[in-house]
């Protein structure tokens, strides 16, 4: 049995885990770090994924893609209100977003596949064998299109996705394994971009999900944006700089806001500083936790309604919940902890690292699928009702939300007109009466033999499988013949597109470790050359001419090394650069300090 890994494909960070002999383990990277930032840099030198891409983000935002999970299974209109925060241009083809980078466009599953490949490589390097099978987690409230997009991403990355599992449910598996919990538990999962609440009943190894609810567009990113909005206004008012006009500055502000938010979870105050371009100085501000909490209070409140709905669907009162578990990096915020505690009337658990618990749970599920664990079994539900369009633009429901999956519903179709040879069917997901208020999943046409009206009887089976993904089959009741149904997804890639993308993905085959190291070294070399040239402009008068000369030599040497394919040579060139510029850096630092002191004195005088 080939090894199956568990992957948490997150909005902000992604992780890969496996079942070791003593339990699930997150697989670390070369430098021991467990999280891979879900960021992809499509640089002139090649593909960067994770930490190196995060560094690249501030330098070349238009070629760096982050938070791509927010775009999975979506059309451009679905994300219109948040476009201003993203540095790239979006297009749409076949109901699917395409992210434009330079001359090329990439679908969200393609970008996710780049992250998955990085995790695949990491697992292969650590475990010493080829990895071809995976369990991938998604937010419980993901709809069919978003799940299908995730499965496509796996395919493009060369992974057979054995199961799509829900993040809060995965977390419950990791907790259940550790503590042998019994009873009703609530999993509150607030990640970088999504919120889920799941209510489960744990009994003798069965993990039965009773209800789930959530918001696939609410997470840490939204908290950052509240800070970003204030900072943008501040910078304009104080320094007359329009942040929106500079994608680089926008990203610097965004990353600083994220850092400030994280610090405020541990400290009552946090200082923020953003260097403005063109010598316009530095924007600084100290935030108190209270100030920040006041900014995001309504967002935290927005998570309460799904909690109440899930409880109501599970037919439970808060008093009947035995344990509350917190999952996702955003649950580190004290405000969220206290709000959850208030709702459920008990202290929530956060014994397992909220960043890692989902990946660990995915590894547990991988063990179950591999047949290594026959004690635990997960019975999950479909988060949204499934239905079809009927006369008058109304949705006629077939499968109710929170139904245990797999599940199926059958519906009989006939014709209205003599000789009619096709019946159009429009499949929807959602809880509202009118078609327009629900999510369009797919359309297909049933083939009908030409007969008098109302004579044909075609039975269509809508089956939601254990991944929460819809499968449609049809059969003619009169002849007993089944017919294949060509479903056209409303917001998904076609099979042909996925195949093309699998082929294309080999072009970006950063599979070769050697090639990756060269790409990373080149990118770093670019950064240091750029920084040094800038420093030289400022420091021309501060250091001797011979020194300037030798720095120019070092830059030239590094440029030459960069053109070669040997990453060690590039690294050596970078090290040389650091050596020869050491003095210059010191001199500039002193000058900056002096400037800062002088301006302070000046302000004291003027105050």
């Amino acid at each position: 049995m080939a090894l199956i890994v568990g992957i948490d494909l997150g909005t902000t960070n992604s992780l890969v885990a496996h079942m070791a002999s003593d339990g699930p383990r997150v697989i670390p990277g070369a430098r021991g770090q467990t999280k891979v930032p879900s960021i992809v840099g499509l640089t002139d030198n090649g593909l960067l994924v994770g930490d190196p891409a995060k560094e690249y983000l501030v330098r070349d935002p238009s070629r760096t893609i982050y938070s791509v999970k927010r775009f999975m299974g979506k059309a451009v209109a679905d994300v219109a209100d948040e476009l201003k925060y993203f540095p790239y241009t979006l297009q749409e083809k076949g109901g699917v977003i395409r992210i434009q980078v330079g001359e090329k466009t990439y679908s969200p599953p393609q970008v996710s596949a780049m992250i998955l490949k990085e995790l695949k490589l990491r697992a292969e390097a650590h475990l010493g064998e080829e990895i071809t099978k995976a369990v991938i987690t998604v937010p419980a409230y993901f709809n069919d299109s978003q799940r299908q997009a995730t499965k496509d991403a796996g395919l493009i990355a060369g992974l057979e996705v054995l199961r799509i599992i829900n993040e809060p449910t995965a977390a419950s598996l990791a907790y259940g394994l550790q503590q042998n919990t019994q009873g009703n538990i609530a999993v509150y999962d607030l990640g970088g971009g999504t919120f889920d609440i799941s209510i489960l009943k744990l009994k003798d190894g069965i993990f039965e999900v009773l209800a789930t609810n959530g918001n696939t567009h609410l997470g840490g990113d939204d908290f950052d944006r509240r800070l970003v909005d204030v900072v943008i206004r501040d910078i304009d008012a104080r320094h007359g700089v329009k942040v929106e006009d500079s994608p680089e500055l926008m990203q610097a502000v965004r990353l600083e806001a994220e850092k400030t938010k994280i610090r405020l979870s541990d400290e009552p105050q946090a200082h923020m500083a953003v260097t403005l371009p063109d010598g316009k100085g530095t924007y600084e501000r100290t935030w108190s936790r209270d100030e920040f909490e006041a900014l995001v209070l309504d967002l935290v409140e927005q998570t309460m309604t799904p909690c109440r709905r899930a409880l109501s669907d599970a037919a439970l009162e808060t008093g009947q919940i035995d344990e509350v578990v917190l999952v996702g990096g955003s649950t580190r915020m004290p405000l969220i902890r206290s709000r959850v505690q208030k709702l459920f009337g008990q202290t929530p658990h956060c014994d397992l690292n909220p960043d890692e618990v989902v990946a660990l749970g995915a590894a547990v599920q991988a063990g179950i699928l591999a047949g290594e664990n026959k004690d635990m079994l997960l019975l999950d539900v479909t988060p949204l009702s499934l239905g079809i369009e009927t006369m008058g633009n109304v949705m006629s429901p077939l499968i109710r939300r929170n139904t245990t999956i797999p599940t199926s519903a059958k519906e009989m179709f006939t014709t209205y007109v003599d000789g009619q040879t096709g019946v159009d069917i429009h499949v929807l997901q959602g809880e509202r009466e009118l078609v327009k208020d629900n999510r369009s999943l797919a359309r297909f046409q049933l083939k009908v033999p030409p007969l008098p009206a109302a004579v044909p009887r075609i039975e269509v089976t809508f089956l939601i499988d254990a991944n929460g993904i819809l499968n449609v089959t049809a059969s003619d009741i009169r002849t007993g013949e089944s017919q294949s149904v060509q479903v056209k997804p409303s917001h998904g890639l076609t099979d042909e597109e996925v195949e093309t993308m699998i082929r294309e993905s080999f072009q970006f085959a950063a599979a070769d470790i050697q090639a990756r190291q060269v790409i990373e070294a080149r990118t770093e070399a670019d950064a240091i050359i750029m920084a040094t040239e800038k420093a030289l402009q400022r420091g021309t008068d501060l250091i001797p001419a011979e020194e300037i000369e030798s720095i120019h030599h070092a830059i030239e040497a590094l440029r030459v090394a960069k053109a070669q394919e040997d990453h060690r040579q590039i690294r050596a060139g970078i090290a040389d650069m650091e050596k020869v510029t050491h003095h210059l850096a010191e001199v500039l630092m002193d000058a900056t300090l002096k400037e800062a002191l002088e301006s302070k004195k000046l302000s004291e005088v003027t105050d």
Binding site: L369, K374, T404
Partner: protein
């Protein structure tokens, strides 16, 4: 159950009707419960299988909820796709189909109202679908309520606030009255459950007539209850301050 011919079973206390009498895989005669005695492949459940038989329960309406859950968990362990991930495509498909049927059976029997509706369909045939109809004695009251509701919806906040407030209070009172009425219907339904369970499973013409009477009685209560429930949902949607959960598709 045309295809299903039970093999006389020696040791087991029960066996579920399978879709075929022979193993789909090795063609040997089926003797096991859900798995072929020879090649140990899982077997498809019969499409004709009724939910009570599936979950090993007598066709009664007051049922042992704990036994129901235990059987559901045990059968899930037999059939669930998670335990077939490494098996061949044929077994995967059977696992999927069996689990989908099992889940529907469990969901239907777990809920008392769905259980009663299912039993009526099972006993009386699908022709007797349950329609929603207003309780006869509430007819006039409901007519007036519908008019009030219509007027309330047509008044937007800010205009004729006094009239709006008056209607709101009236509708909220109506809602409470109807909810009480619904609870009353549910307890009457429970009484019918007891009556049904007391009747023998098989019997002569007299027993059959008694059974039909109980079924008809339940059908009327259920159709009235659904009607009242829909109105209560409409009232909740129209009068809740947040508009929360709106007019939902699941009346």
């Amino acid at each position: 159950m045309s295809e299903h011919t039970h093999q006389p079973d020696s040791g087991r206390s029960r066996d579920l009707p399978m879709a075929r009498s022979m193993c789909w895989h090795c063609q040997s005669e089926m003797t096991g419960e859900y798995f072929c005695g020879r090649c140990v492949k899982v077997q498809p459940l019969s499409k004709e299988l009724d939910y009570f038989t599936c979950l090993n329960l007598p066709r009664k309406l007051n049922l042992d909820e704990q036994a129901l859950e235990e059987t559901f968990y045990a059968l899930s362990r037999s059939f669930h796709p998670d335990y077939y991930a490494t098996k061949d495509e044929g077994e995967k498909a059977i696992s999927l189909g069996n689990t989908a049927l099992l889940n529907t059976a469990y969901r239907t029997l777990k809920d008392p109202v769905q259980r009663a509706e299912y039993l009526i369909r099972l006993e009386a045939g699908s022709a007797k679908d349950i329609r929603t109809s207003p309780p006869a004695d509430l007819f006039d009251e409901i007519l007036e309520l519908q008019e009030d509701l219509e007027e309330f919806r047509s008044l937007s906040a800010g205009e004729s606030d006094a009239r709006r407030q008056e209607l709101l209070e009236k509708l909220q009172a109506e809602r409470q009255a109807l909810e009480a009425r619904k609870a009353q219907m549910e307890s009457r339904l429970r009484e019918q459950f007891g009556r049904w369970d007391a009747l023998p499973a098989d019997g002569d013409v007299t027993v059959q007539a008694q059974k039909d009477a109980v079924l008809t009685g339940m059908q009327e209560i259920l159709s009235n209850r659904t009607y009242v429930k829909n109105i209560v949902n409409d009232l909740v949607a129209a009068t809740s301050p947040t508009g929360d959960d709106g007019r939902n598709i699941w009346h």
